[in-house]
Symmetry: C2
Subunit: 214 residues, 2 copies
DNA sequence: CGTGAGTTTGAAGGGAATCAAGACTAGTGG
DNA sequence: CCACTAGTCTTGATTCCCTTCAAACTCACG
């Protein structure tokens, strides 16, 4: 499940997948890249590191919309403003592409317009998978789903380095941090994963995991 | 919340908002328009009636992805196959636009490419709102959110005709039919809505509803 | 006026949340 | 290099919101 929002058919090049380069910017861990309500002047590509996009309710409840890994694009909007906040989950480099320039280029080159559509539609697919997960899956299915998704997207075989905290996992999965922790511990005692350190997870039985993720 | 996936700036015309017409097809209540896994050869616009798009897990759990009302587009995909099933919720007329033709037109006309992008990005926005709702909101907040969204999209003042069954509401909201029913009854005894018939809901206090939907 | 699908209501149970410690772990500075 | 410390994570006990199971009700339709 959860196919990645990435341009997998084009390795990031000097000129970038849209045919021109944008400036690259470094962000320290937990630094904000843009905020909900900011003017959406750029779209972004993760060059290295990883990014979370999230939304906050007035009372502090947080929902992480998506984790963006190296290669992924984020910050694409229909309107003029960003509707989510983007923060670096580790020291991260992002390429910034000016939206106006991209829009102009898309107006001239059909392949660019097509790539932009594809990127957006893939984001929609991932969001739909997320909806299914949050609406109809158990805590265990959600946690397993996230692990399998991360493994697929990073190309990990069985050694998985997770870029996010337990709190981030919880806020992505619509659970609490305690439930995420308990579920991981349970998966470990079931023998399908091992947890040598908090940010490193060994997938010991991928077939079983695929079954549990439903 | 939940801005509609519609072309609000173009009233549906004889030629359609993409500048050309497609054939219109009628579907009876509960009839399938396309199914998960079908080849995505068309995109669709609801002319009259309403449509649900949903996904099914192997064990029968169902998640409704979106309700599509008159004017809305649905069936837009990044890949070659439909990833959801679309069914008419009432007797419904849909316009079918051949995907290949649309893709060709988008390659020639930047305004069409732009409209297609916008439609997709708006669908993504709505899906993100849905994620927030399912991940972090209570049953009451979800039900109120749906009612307010439907009222906004249909332009209803206080008299709201809901096109879907309680089961559909439950499967959209990630709840059970019993919880939806109880929540509506509770909202009625709180005086913020009235339920003269099952498919007709009176919004008696929109300010209170906006607060409760949070 | 029966008949049945859809809906509402009730009672009981369960999965995840909440509340509360305790155990790591990763920095920090001596 | 190694305590010290703050933040993160895990574990435990309890609570609660929603689900499940069950039955009654409503209303459209023959």
């Amino acid at each position: 499940m959860l196919s990645p929002l990435r341009q997998t058919d084009h390795a990031p090049t000097a000129t970038g997948p849209f045919g021109f380069t944008g400036p690259c910017l470094r962000h320290a861990r937990d630094e904000e890249i843009f905020s909900e309500g900011d003017s959406a002047d750029y779209i972004y590509q993760v060059i290295s590191g990883s990014v979370r996009t999230c939304r906050l309710l007035r009372d502090g409840r947080r929902q992480i919309d998506e984790f963006h890994l190296a290669g992924d694009y984020f910050g694409i909007e229909a309107g003029d403003l960003h509707r989510v906040t983007a923060e670096a989950m580790a020291d991260t480099t992002v390429r910034m592409v000016r939206r106006g320039a991209l829009s102009d280029l898309a107006a001239q080159r059909a392949d660019v317009a097509r790539a932009l559509f594809r990127l957006t539609a893939e984001g929609l697919q991932r969001s739909q998978d997320h909806v299914l997960m949050l609406g109809r899956k158990s805590a265990r299915e959600r946690v397993v789903g996230l692990l399998v998704d991360l493994a697929e997207r990073t190309g990990a075989q069985s050694e998985l380095d997770v870029p996010m905290s337990r709190q981030d996992m919880a806020d992505y999965l619509g659970l609490t941090i305690e439930t995420v922790s308990r579920t991981l511990t349970q998966l470990q005692s079931d023998g399908v994963i091992a947890l040598p350190t908090t940010r490193h997870i060994v997938l010991r039985d991928r077939a079983a995991l695929r079954r549990l993720g439903d």
